[in-house]
């Protein structure tokens, strides 16, 4: 299983599309919102207290959630919970003292941060837990610096020493205050340090690899799929029933702000649906450029993903450049072409 399980910078979809990427949301009176107010640089996730979002992940005994966090009012609030199905194993909370607390699902506080957080300021928090009745481990970092490192803990509330859902937001009914979440990275254990997530979009076609139909008035293949937020059937690419095997690659924007440091992963998100009937699947695909030793002549097609009649994101995460087998560089991402191939 890859180390990076999932990440999200909230910069390529609107509030109505949250569950096309996250698995579900709950709300009291105000739904989770994708908002410029909540982002560090661009958009972020605005959670009024009582609103929450949930991401299902593969079963794992150890999980880390890294994220940029800001709050508007000091209150005792849950920030992020690690669940085995519906059972909260352990969670991270903000206390009205401004400290962060690691809390087992039954309410037992396992540890407190020494750092006192203040409102209206972003902190990059990394919360790591290994689930066990007796040998659980907790790590907490703020801005990359260690706050807590607990061992031999009871971090398990369910009958299984596992986590399969990461839930952001307070679950109880409250009427004031909000939290801002951005640059979320979930791993199966690794603490990657503070991260920033950039979105790049198609900005050019790749001759020979524009094998689907442009529908909806877009001027070219890449223009049919380069929206800031998805416009569904308004402009799109269409693969007719007999066009199995059709491929589209696009050139992509350069990373706007290359801040240096390691790039743990990139993700390709394809927003797609099928028509009624039959089974339809596609593969996300990468076409690395001649950077970092890649040949620049080979395409790499991932495992098939199967699609539904409603639009949804179908994503793949690449921790290494398939053209080199090594880690990603800014240059290799800027030279990358990406796309998809109709599989079924």
């Amino acid at each position: 299983m890859p180390s990076v399980v999932w990440f999200d910078g909230f910069d390529h979809y609107a509030s109505a599309g949250i569950t096309t990427k996250w698995n579900m949301l709950w709300q009291q009176s105000i739904a989770p919102i994708i908002s410029l107010t909540a982002g560090r640089k661009n958009y972020g996730l605005l959670l009024e207290w009582g609103a929450n979002v949930h991401k299902s992940i593969p079963d794992t005994g150890t999980v880390t959630s890294g994220f940029a966090f800001r709050f508007t009012e000091l209150q005792n609030k849950r920030i992020v919970a690690f669940r085995d199905e519906g059972v909260v194993q352990v969670y991270l909370a903000l206390l009205d003292s401004g400290r962060l607390a690691i809390v087992r699902g039954d309410g037992t506080i396992l540890g407190l941060s020494s750092t006192v957080l203040t409102a209206l300021k972003f902190y990059y928090i990394e919360f790591n837990a290994t689930i066990s009745n007796s040998t659980g481990v907790i790590q907490l970092r703020i801005g990359g610096a260690s706050e807590l490192n607990l061992t031999l803990q009871d971090t398990q509330m369910s009958s299984n020493a596992r986590v399969n859902m990461v839930s952001f937001g307070e679950m109880t009914i409250n009427t004031s205050g909000a939290m801002h979440i951005d640059d979320v990275v979930i791993t199966n254990g690794a603490l990657l340090g503070p991260q920033k997530i950039d979105v790049i979009r198609p900005n050019g076609g790749v001759p020979g690899y524009m094998q689907m139909e442009v529908v909806g008035g877009a001027g070219s293949h890449y223009q049919a799929i380069n929206e800031i937020t998805p416009d569904s059937d308004t402009s799109h690419l269409y693969s007719q029933s007999a066009w199995r095997g059709s491929v589209v690659f696009s050139e992509y924007e350069n990373i706007a702000e290359a801040t240096g440091g390691a790039i743990p992963a990139i993700a390709v998100h394809t927003f797609t649906r099928k028509e009624y009937g039959n089974t339809r699947g596609f593969s996300n695909a990468l076409f690395p450029g001649t950077v970092d030793g890649a040949s620049g002549s080979l395409q790499y097609y991932n495992d098939p993903l199967y699609i539904e009649t409603d639009y949804a994101y179908h994503s793949d995460i690449y921790e290494t450049n398939p053209g080199t087998g090594g880690t990603w560089s800014v240059g290799s991402i800027n030279a990358l072409k990406a796309g998809f191939k109709r599989y079924l």
Partner: protein
């Protein structure tokens, strides 16, 4: 037959299901709390069923059950299913910790095996509805998206098997004890969770559309997974020359029986055995693709004591074929036991757009 039932929820409403013990012939609600049939809840703006459903531990929920006309050791049920996001905190009521039943396969009132969705949105098969977990998928769903989910299950105390497909791909298989009653068969399919109405204030809406139920025996067609299908409701749009029944007003017949939901204020009647009315019907919205089956629906009642029967009619080029006789009661009910996987006139595949084919009703007894 191998294809036992198809259902798009078009042509009737909630009251049709729940009043007077259910006016469907075989499609009844035993827990009708917050059960809605509406064109807001189907796929692509078509009509669908929305149930307020939750786990067997939660007391407020809706369900509908299709009672089958036979006992089958293996059943395949498919439906487009979408979970909505709740608008209240689930944690307060505790029901987030429970799974949500989607399909329950029953022998009478005993659930043999069930397919549910777990809190982390995985698919899970249990013995009975709350018994041993027989399998849990690694694949997980998202709310707000229709998935076409198919569940095939062989009932057995010792050699039960199951398979779950989502949009055509196998996501869960397994085996074990899939039998809870003394009988090794299934004779009812329930959508949603059953239970008495309670005081719960929160839960999860689940939408259903395009349902099929099949078994593996008798026929060699449609006796396994069928895959993602669309089911359309077509209504009469014109009279044919054969119109021997009597409209309750005026001279136009189809206008009496083309209601979006049942309207008993206008109708056609007949007191003469052998009378036939034929109608042209609306066009398919999705004419592409093969037509796997046609089910005629007739909403009818008799007016007095004695036996009264009707039969569905299909007509092509002047030739009629008839469905099974349906025995009427004095209460209006839907009658649609015929599932024609071939055109009964000549046992041929249905024409791709049902062109030049007409449907109607016969007073058969």
């Amino acid at each position: 037959m191998s294809l036992l039932h198809i259902e798009s929820f078009e042509g009737y409403d909630r009251d049709t299901v729940i009043l007077n013990g259910g006016k469907y012939e075989n499609w009844m609600s035993e827990s009708s709390e917050d059960l809605v049939i509406s064109n807001s809840y189907g796929r692509n703006s078509s009509t669908g069923l929305r149930l307020f459903t939750n786990s067997y531990t939660f007391t407020q929920r809706g369900s509908v059950t299709r009672h089958l006309n036979g006992n089958y050791d293996t059943i395949i049920v498919g439906a487009a299913i979408r979970l909505d996001n709740p608008n209240q905190s689930l944690e307060f009521t505790g029901n987030v910790t429970s799974h949500r039943t989607i399909f329950a396969l029953a022998d009478g009132s005993t659930i043999q095996a069930a397919l549910s969705i777990t809190p982390s949105m995985r698919l899970q098969v249990t013995q009975g509805e709350s018994g041993s977990v027989l399998g849990r998928s690694t694949f997980y769903l998202h709310t707000g998206i229709f998935y076409y989910i198919e569940f095939k299950c062989l009932v057995s105390n010792t050699a039960g098997t199951f398979e779950v497909k989502v949009d055509g791909i196998t996501r869960l298989t397994g085996g074990g004890d899939t039998q809870m009653s003394a009988d090794q068969y299934i004779n009812a399919i329930r959508l949603g969770a059953e239970g008495a109405f309670g005081t719960g204030s929160s839960g999860r809406y689940v939408r259903f559309d395009d349902v099929y139920i099949a078994n593996t025996t008798v026929s060699t067609v449609y006796n396994d997974f069928i895959g993602d299908v669309r089911i359309e409701g077509l209504r009469p749009i014109g009279d044919r020359l054969t119109k021997q029944w009597v409209p309750s007003s005026g001279t136009v017949h189809f206008d009496m029986v083309d209601d979006l939901t049942p309207d008993t204020s206008n109708y056609i009647t007949s007191g003469t055995i052998g009378d036939i009315d034929l109608f042209s019907v609306s066009s398919l919205l999705t004419p592409a693709g093969s037509i796997l089956a046609v089910t005629p629906n007739m909403y009818a009642r008799k007016t007095n004591a004695g036996v009264a029967r009707i039969a569905a009619v299909v007509n092509r080029a002047g030739t009629n074929a008839f469905g099974e006789d349906q025995y009427l009661t004095q209460e209006n009910r839907y009658h649609y036991n015929d599932v024609w996987v071939k055109n009964p006139i000549d046992n041929s595949q249905w024409a791709s757009n049902l062109s030049s084919i007409y449907f109607g009703i016969k007073k058969s007894g």
